[in-house]
């Protein structure tokens, strides 16, 4: 079965984005500062400023020899934290008040007074016992093979190999989800108990990982 109709629906959503990359950077930073003011984020305001960076595309005079057609594309990366595919806690990241920690990267292009969202990845890692080790929200490059598989916008639910179709969101919406959402419900003070299936699953997984170690 194809999920093309689902993905078409998700990707047709009109996103309200600021006009410039630096405006989006500012909006993201201020959302993080507000979270700090509300005690949802443990990262200091000074660190928020250091971690949310805008990296413009290399200027023509530097990259010109390499660029096909010599067209400057006005593309930008907005980085929140250090690049961290290894999920190494030593690399700089944002810390939530509950011990979860996250980083993100967004790729955009300024075009005709509008901002075009090209790709993003937002990954949050949880403390042990939180039910899942991490969640990653990905928006892949347009026209990519994953779009053919109906999964340009997807979620990795604690596994790099598993992808779940997700709605297209603005970067501010995903950030809000990472800051305010993905927490225990307000009426619970501890996670729900595990079933025998989950306990067995974790034990079996641990045993297979232990066997696989050299």
């Amino acid at each position: 079965m194809s999920f093309a109709a689902l993905q078409d629906h998700a990707l047709s959503r009109v996103l309200a984005l600021p006009p410039r990359a630096k405006d989006l950077q500012r909006d993201l930073r201020n959302a993080l500062l507000q979270a700090r003011d509300n005690d949802k984020l443990a990262t200091s305001p000074q660190e928020v400023f250091q971690l949310v960076t805008l990296l413009p595309e290399l200027p023509d005079n530097v990259a010109g020899q390499l660029r096909a057609g010599g067209l400057h594309a006005n593309a930008y990366c907005i980085a929140g934290g250090e690049k961290n595919q290894e999920r190494d806690r030593v690399r700089r990241h944002f810390k939530r008040n509950d011990g979860a920690w996250f980083d993100f990267t967004i790729t955009v292009r300024e075009h005709g007074g509008q901002l075009e969202l090209l790709a993003y990845d937002f990954e949050i890692r949880f403390p042990s016992g939180a039910g899942t080790p991490f969640l990653r929200f990905d928006l892949n490059l347009p026209g990519h093979r994953n779009q053919d598989r109906d999964l340009r916008s997807h979620l990795h639910p604690g596994s790099d190999d598993v992808q779940v179709p997700t709605p297209l969101m603005t970067p501010i919406e995903v950030l809000a989800l990472l800051i305010d959402g993905l927490r225990l419900p307000a009426d619970r003070d501890k996670p729900r108990g595990l079933t025998a299936f989950e306990i067995g699953w974790f034990r079996d997984t641990h045993a297979s990982l232990t066997r696989a170690e050299p």
């Binding site: 400023f49 595309e57 096909a68 993003y120 990905d138 892949n140 490059l141 990519h144 297209l168």
Partner: protein, 194 residues
Amino acid sequence: MGRTTPGELALRLRALRGTAAYAAYLAELADIEATLADLEDELRAIAPSGAVTRLSPHSGQQLVADLGASAVEIVVVDARRFSPADWALLDRRRSALAHRGVVIFVTTPSSFSELMRHATNLASWLGDVFAVPHDDATVEARREQRLTALRRWANRSDDEIVDAARAGTLPADPAYAEWLVLLGHGELLGHGVT
């Protein structure tokens, strides 16, 4: 004198809300319009609506009049045109510059030198003096740091990534979009959503 971005300065000024504070922010003449706009945008983003205004007086006398008529809490003063005579006048009339809120003079290094020479009393009011940072080296270092992480993660070279993008065989992950931008190849990204 330290260097700080408009955003970081706005954060410091936000912390001074509720006090009477004066500061100076220095930018080269070619950058001053963009600096003023950035600082104003940053302040408007973190301060309540109506709490920020910009004054662009053509003389010291006009600043005295404009500031006296303004009850806005955070006042950004475009002071790039002030001559030694303007600073001297402001020094003499400094009591008329008393303001319930934050006043920040945005000006050039040379005009600030004139302030220090001709308005020594006013200069003593300045709690913070910052300059716009030269961030080219910082941006380049961050770019290289991230490229190094991407190369290590994918175990591929920059040329391989560009070749794959041109061939339409670039792998799935959003990290490759970042990689292309950092290399200056945004033209290979295709079109996204607006």
